[in-house]
């Protein structure tokens, strides 16, 4: 691994691992996939290639943040705004 990028790659791994703790399918599942993904690229030496892969990793971080936000938003909406949902479906009360 190219030396100056070594720190960045390590930081990327740590950041992704931290985010993966809340992954819906489990932190262990996430960690396995994360390790696989990093190991797959362990022989890449071209700094430009490494830069591109690191940028991909940053995109994944953003995607995870969005995933977690959407999950929370949708749960909150369902829980607290049931009347809105019923209004949209044109139903007066819940069907039992």
């Amino acid at each position: 691994m190219a030396n100056p990028l070594r720190r960045e790659v390590r930081q990327l791994y740590k950041n992704l691992l931290y985010l993966g703790r809340e992954y819906p399918q489990g932190a262990d599942y996430f960690r396995e996939r994360l390790n696989c993904a990093f190991m797959k690229n362990k022989d890449v030496t071209d700094p430009k290639e490494i830069r591109k892969l690191v940028d991909c990793g940053e995109v994944v971080i953003k995607e995870l943040g969005t995933l977690y936000y959407l999950r929370e938003y949708r749960t909150m909406k369902k829980r607290f705004y049931e009347e809105e949902l019923l209004g949209l479906l044109n139903i007066g009360r819940p069907i039992d």
Partner: protein
Amino acid sequence: MSRVLVGVKRVIDYAVKIRVKPDQSGVVTDGVKHSMNPFCEIAVEEAVKLKEKKFIKEVVAVSCGPSQVTETIRTALAMGCDRGIHVEVSGKDYEAMGPLQISKIFAALAKKEEASLVILGKQAIDDDCNQTGQMTAALLDWPQGTFASEVTIDGETVKVVREIDGGLETIKISMPAVLTADLRLNTPRYATLPNIMKAKKKKIANMKPADLGVDMVSRVEVLRVDEPPTRLAGVKVETVDDLVAKLKANGTI
């Protein structure tokens, strides 16, 4: 310029399945995942956004409870708050703590810190009180913009678009004021590891309710906690006519 106080509450994580204690005195909290109340996240995000837009100078995150709430304050700091205040409450006082005590603490802190705004989540997902913001405003005799889905600061006044039954209401209130955040106010940022690391340098002050002249005596006693009634199983029908007949029998159509 101005300073904003943001309240954050440590609650059982929204995704956890809640279990009632066998003695029906409360919910199981030991060993259960806790995190920041979702509406408090939205409140923090709004305060940080206002600071980024240069309407306010400093954001102070406040939480009341035992030592574990410092984790929640750290998350708020990682989201962009400048410093934190941990009001230590533990044991029986913490179990009996409710909107009345919290609002007294926040009113005292708002005066002490000379805050121009107090931003809170509209309610906590564990007690669903929806009272702390309103009580704080009343104790301070400040105007309140509750259920805010849009906040705009214009000089010494704030324009708040509120989510109410049947639509939206726009009000203009003067500062200092109390705002409570509703779900659609903003999209809270996720506190990533680099932010958490940076936040470690930020200070969290420690104090007790007595330092603010607040008595924690509760006027409310929890008698019993029950699980909600189990949902009846759904009924499968074979044809559309069956469905229509069942709906008619049910009185739905």
